[in-house]
């Protein structure tokens, strides 16, 4: 295979991501039960079910279109903090995707643009125990691997995200619903960070097998 994605493949990848996330509703809910309000899984399910519907139309004309559609669907249907930040990630991230195909650099740019917008929207920095703590290392790792092609880039992003999930365990939450737990949030990974790692895992798997 060519190690890039065209518009239809981008759409199919996001369909795969959506299904992957919907299947992980309980995992995410349980993670949010530990340090939040216990709804992250069902929120992501609402968002990605809506994304599936939005993606299930004619073939997309441009490669960024399915990302934007996914972002819009999540933004309108998830609600809560996740709706805002994951919606922003896909919507703003889509602006980073250049040209007709997604290659390693394009994928890294997606993460970088998304990250920048999320940081602004959420008013957070790294280390506050949010999805940013998976997204930021993922974006950095993706950029570092971007010359090696899309498969290598997505794989690097997953590794970065997983390290971020791991690192988030030690962080004290200072935003979102885990905030008031303070020290008691330590030991648990951030649910949104887990979502980032899962989204990227599904993307990597798609890139490697299609």
């Amino acid at each position: 295979m060519s190690d890039t994605l065209d518009a239809t493949q981008a759409r199919d990848m996001l369909v795969a991501v959506s299904n992957y996330m919907i299947d992980r509703t309980d995992t995410l809910t349980d993670a949010d039960l530990a340090i939040g309000d216990g709804d992250h899984g069902i929120g992501m399910r609402r968002g990605f079910e809506a994304a599936l519907e939005a993606l299930n139309g004619e073939a997309p004309e441009t490669v960024d279109a399915p990302f934007k559609a996914t972002g819009m669907a999540i933004m309108s249907n998830t609600g809560g903090a996740a709706g805002a930040v994951f919606g922003t990630l896909f919507r703003a991230g889509s602006k980073g995707i250049p040209g007709d195909v997604i290659d390693g650099a394009g994928f890294a740019a997606f993460l970088e643009e998304g990250l920048a917008a999320v940081l602004k929207r959420g008013g957070v920095t790294e280390g506050q125990k949010t999805m940013v703590d998976a997204l930021a290392p993922a974006a950095r790792a993706a950029r570092a691997a971007s010359a090696d092609g899309l498969q290598a880039t997505t794989a690097a992003a997953v590794d970065g995200a997983l390290q971020g999930v791991e690192a988030s365990k030690a962080m004290v939450a200072t935003t979102g619903k885990a905030r008031s737990l303070g020290e008691r949030s330590v030991g648990h990974p951030d649910p949104g960070a887990i979502s980032i790692s899962l989204i990227l895992t599904a993307m990597r798997d798609y890139a490697q097998t299609n």
């Binding site: 309000d37 216990g38 709804d39 249907n77 609600g79 809560g80 709706g83 959420g122 008031s180 737990l181």
Partner: protein, 335 residues
Amino acid sequence: MANPKKILNDPKKVVAEMLEGLVFANDGRLRKLDKHAAIVRTDLPESKVALLIGGGSGHEPIFHGFVGKNMGDGAACGQVFAAPSPDIIVEAAKAVHRGKGVLFLYGNYAGDNMNFDMASEILTEDEGIEVRTVRVTDDVAAAPPERMHDRRGVAGDLYAIKIAGGAATECDTLDEVERIARKAVANLRSIGIAVAAGSIPETGKLTFELADDEIEIGMGAHGEAGVSRQKIAPADTVADQIMEKLLSDLPFKRGDEVALLINNLGATTMMEMLIVNRRIRQILDREGIKVHRTDVGTWLTVQEMAGFSVTLLRLDDELKHYLDLPAESLGYSRM
């Protein structure tokens, strides 16, 4: 322990079905927007500053149950424990707008902040509607006083809505309504305690676990952890702890006049709340703080969570005036 039983149809449709039931219950005084989870008064005057409230559902009667004269003009309703999305907020704001701008008033949570802010940007940029935002930050358990902006909005929402709603009826400018709402929030302090957890309909799971002899002080309105767990204690002891935290925070001082709100988080009996009120009044008497009015009831719930919160609002003549305007809504009514 088994998951709590609920009388529901499809757990994924709770918000939509509830809003239908809410509109029915208000017989013509409210409507739901066709395509969005938003509730709007049908009896809005031609011209007024609009007050839009909202937040996650599952806390009934707040927020959608607080729409009515001298309360919210409309409410944007999220799914259970999830802030409404920007498009719901945008459509709700457009529906309540009566030419004088819209005040957004809601509890300070990351999700609400981001979604309402996005809506605000869209309204300002695309619709030319002036929007101001006041976030309720009454939960003293959530952060120390110097990090006010990190505090959550809990049952004090009711008084904030009540005062902003009155101001939005009587005042002519968005500036003025915003100023008064901000003053209310600045004088508002709450803290809650939880005795037992509630559950989210769609997951059926309790949002936290407490041992049979434990309570949690400072529990958040979504079952987020509070400031401390401790052994269950007598009502007077719990009231003492709560009042110490509240009084020292603003701080409330001898000679202050306050409104006092005791809010049932769900399954607590009014008997317990009245017994707590007895002690609170003994303490306030001792401290020389005068109670102008008391509200004891069920206004901001966390599904069937057992527990309650206590809110104090320091009053001046202006706040008193707007607080005391008669208001009627499904969830709160007082002459």
